[in-house]
Symmetry: D2
Subunit: 361 residues, 4 copies
């Protein structure tokens, strides 16, 4: 490994951070638009192996430069940060090159194609004191930010179960299955909202290649949490109806997040089941257990209207400037990769429960 | 075993079948109401160990007789059929006694507390040439009857996946877990609508006793089908929102049954993903596969308004009179029990996939 | 008018009130079921000109007597109260006969076919000290009872507007238009929930006989309220979709009642528009007006599950026993008739606004 | 009036039309984005009296020129078309100036502040042979384009009623009431989808200034159609819930357009009421009328995903190039203004029905 270039000194708050976007495919244009809209950044480059694709994305009225040469971008001293929106298989190469060039890096999810690759990136960033952030966009929606507050702030009580459904008629990917395509959203949200000390400890996965596409198009993940709770994720490319609903059940309250209902994305129910087992009874004396039901009001908190990507982009700027880890830093990207790899093993082994290593919790 | 009484000769179509309901708890009143409303039956008795409960159910204006003595009911020659709505643990005793007394028997789901018990009942009914029917009520809803037509009639093409969610803030049962309480609905529907030759061949189950109730309150079942398809069932007593939605994905069409949307219970989508793998290519040559998407119209078929229990009661009469097996006969009840027992084993063994025996498919 | 019989002495609270239902058509069976279920009443008769219809309603297991002779019912000294569920055109005759026989009377909506008829009934009841109650069933739903509390208790602030939509593919009535068929529900609810002192003062109506049925099948009513507010009602027999939604906008909060959403019938929004016109400005100085928007949380209050008719029946008993007017007494029925008659006049005169008399507010 | 400049010769299809957007407020940015995205146009200018606002809209990466001088824009020979997105009160001045300069003109709704102004614009355009188009955006949504096909193609049969609800917590405008703010959408859609020969012939309006804003914040419009049908529009700035639903009832089918349900915007019901009056009977013999109910399937047609503004922009190009009137040309804008002015008169006169002039139908 070559000598580390010095990390760029944090620019004064008033001066925008020079940034380049690498990858002009599905996600890149969203990054382009949001970096352009942010006063914290100045977008200098859009880089893609296919120059004409990059030109199409920028349209006929833009002053942003196009290139197909990553080296040209990395050599530009105005560029302090690079956003990587290339296929997952190239994340390691592109992001590592950027880090080695002393650039802060934002990577589209998943952080890398493998856990090992991701760990290499995280190590590279740490060694150089650079910001490595994973673009777990959903974490920056007003709904998920509020869920994080509610769960970590104790409003729900102890988390008992989480059930997430993310199904749609989706594009069948050529290189990854539905689990790697969609579950990173749910896993990163889970990672983001769970309170400190509550982590997934094991995962099992079932899937089916229902249409003969050569990879699972329907998958179910079941995660054991360290506090005894259960999380379950249903991802599906074949559903003609779109559902994006997460239920988080707590000992005090239960919330429902319906991302497709803009008028009421979040509902917090003071409704549930309490079990009061008299102290003196043994676990077997089920007949004596006292179950009570709460059927209180439901509150749908008002949420601000704000594009998640805009908030994410500002978090990237803040992390760069302050030097603190981003809310969805490389480590959170790694934890998601650890679950995905274990889930793939479970899938291959017929659905057995795979324990997660200590490091990945 | 005593000598078999002769099976009662089928009464002439015009004469109602004398019937008794045993069990005046949660479900019994529904049977009472529907037998009273049917011209095919004449309700003579409501029998419950708690006479005053039976009297409350009948109310102050009824001519139906009450008793706490099953023997009195079984000895009544006017009674040709007995409907059993007692706790599952008593099904074997009550139903077997009725069969031995030469009565046709309808049993509330599940058929019995164990597969062995259920097989005993089925054998008893077969030996005596009596009708044994399981009250899988949902199968007789207009929606499920139509789903059966669509699936078995080929409108959906090959069944690729089935996903069923049945969650609610439900009563935590004292004797059974959420899987035994709710999944029989989904399993009996699955059994009812799948085409001949497509059966579950293995099942895995995950669950959690999230509230310390001594039994699972949240459970997920994954079933492998004999045609390579996947079925998944989510049952949950702890959800503050009620969901009862089943998606059945086929190679031609996909249907969504939302039982809580009376205005549009059934939606049939001509929408999906087709994979056309050129003949000459090997499975590895994924890059060459041709995927096409259909995004056709959705049709919500008009469904008649008819109470499922009424239809079920008439099927019971028809089965008795014709001697043919009921649509949900004892065998279907047995197949559901086989899956439930295997799922319980899987739950106890941490979610491993349990193969179902040949007989139970 | 013959000499008044003495009003029956209120029976002791523990003894049920003898009751007869007159009319075994669409609504009568519901009254039969609810009187049978109430400990406050003892149902003695179901009376209908078509005896066989009455017998069908009672079914084959009932001890309630059937008759086609109203005089027989009115002569029965056990009968203290009569519930009238006959066509509106016969309400005057049947109810007046019952009152003259000294019976308390419950009348299905509308109170009578005309305002004049209704006033005669109300006068008759007053003169004899008998309870006259109008079965405005919706007023006794848990949702409307809560709305009444919220509106009259001041939680909404000043009522600014009310918008009610009640549309469905409905039975085209032979004798009345859609306004007389459906709007009584909305008008009785309006009457029930508005605070004292806020009343409708004028009404305009538009309608269309879209299908050539000889009467309006679609109608819109606009009511001016005494506090300057506006109420609007849309009733429609021709809509393939069913909507039953009422919005009540207040200066502090606004509520939405969606009667077809059992999971969330009532939503109370702390959301709205405030105008703060600086004191010193004239009305013309619009540019200076300060408008602020509240976008607070929404609360969906938990509502009990209780059949409205059961509550209504108990209110009838309480009114009889206590001598106080029922919540929906004859006067409320009269106020609804006053609006309906004015709306019919407006309809006939092309939609002009018709003032309501002082007495009818 | 000065000598007419020659209408610009239609440019060859392959060459984009030079365009300028005037007005960088609420709507202008959407036009900027869509002209930039269209190969049919080349955007040269964004003009606003507030230059800095125009600069903010374009952002820091644009090559489009900014000016606050309309004359500079109109003098630019590259500019063949001008899009006007200024306040309605300035439409006459800006658009007339553009027409006089020989430019084709697109005007944001409403066409002008008054019917007289609008007529002047239409006359100016006609006299010069220039395209005058009104940006009735909703007409170009995939849903409304399909509705137009269904209604005009006869799939619905005769149009019997139309009911449109457009309510939300909306910005209280300083210069116009809710009717002028929101009803142009519904009126332009009505104008767009009705078959030739079916036109509004009279309108009545009721409204309320519920919050003391100095103008109606809630309004209801009732329109009589020339075929005897009825159209009704509810617009409201004060509703905490957003509703955008239109029902169009026809003699054969009825459609429901729910613009807030992206998964099922359009539902076409083969459901309704038929009246078969035997030939030999008079209109009075209501008892003989035969009413039958259809309760057929519902079909939700698949709709393409396409931004309405993009389609509108292409229609503008096509109208310019072909010389044919745009689908929403100046005449359609005029017809909408005629209804709005009559509705305002009705509102001022307490809701009386105002006939529309022959010219405005």
């Amino acid at each position: 490994m070559s000598a580390l270039p010095a990390a760029p000194a944090g620019p004064p708050a008033e001066e925008p951070i020079g940034v380049a976007v690498v990858g002009a495919g599905y996600w890149g244009p969203n990054l382009v638009r949001n970096f352009q809209g942010s006063p914290s950044f100045r977008l200098h480059w859009l880089c893609d192996l296919d120059r004409s694709q990059a030109e199409r994305v920028l349209g006929g009225y833009s002053t942003v430069a196009v290139t197909d040469d990553l080296a040209e971008v990395l050599a530009d001293p105005r560029v302090g940060a690079v956003a990587v929106a290339t296929p997952a298989g190239t994340h390691l190469d592109v992001a590592a090159a950027a880090l080695r060039a002393g650039k802060h890096v934002l990577v589209e999810k998943p952080l890398a194609a493998t856990y090992a690759d991701g760990r290499e990136l995280a190590g590279e960033a740490d060694a150089r004191g650079l910001t490595l952030m994973c673009d777990h966009t959903y974490c920056y929606t007003p709904a998920v930010l509020r869920i994080r507050e509610l769960v970590r702030g104790g409003d729900l009580g102890e988390v008992q179960f989480l059930d997430s459904v993310r199904i749609n008629l989706g594009l069948v990917q050529r290189d990854i299955d539905v689990m790697w395509d969609l579950a990173p959203h749910d896993l990163s949200i889970l990672d983001f909202v769970l309170p400190d000390g509550v982590r997934p400890v094991a995962v099992a996965a079932h899937g089916a290649d229902a249409i003969g596409a050569g990879r699972s198009c329907v998958a179910y993940l079941t995660l054991r949490l360290s506090n005894g709770g259960l999380a379950h994720i249903h991802v599906n490319w074949l559903s003609p109806v779109k559902v994006r609903t997460t239920i988080i059940g707590g000992s005090k309250r239960t919330l429902v997040w319906d991302d497709l209902n803009p008028a009421q994305r979040l509902s917090v129910f003071d409704r549930g089941v309490d079990v009061a087992a008299p102290e003196e009874l043994g676990a077997d004396e089920r007949q004596q257990m006292l179950i009570s039901y709460r059927s209180g009001d439901m509150v749908a908190p008002a949420l601000p209207e704000r594009e998640a990507l805009r908030t994410m982009v500002e978090e990237f700027a803040t992390a760069i400037r302050s030097g603190r880890p981003a809310l969805t830093d490389g480590r959170s990207g790694l934890r998601v990769l650890a679950v995905l790899e274990a889930a793939s093993r479970s899938l291959a082994e017929g659905g057995v429960m795979i324990e997660l290593g200590e490091d990945d919790r």
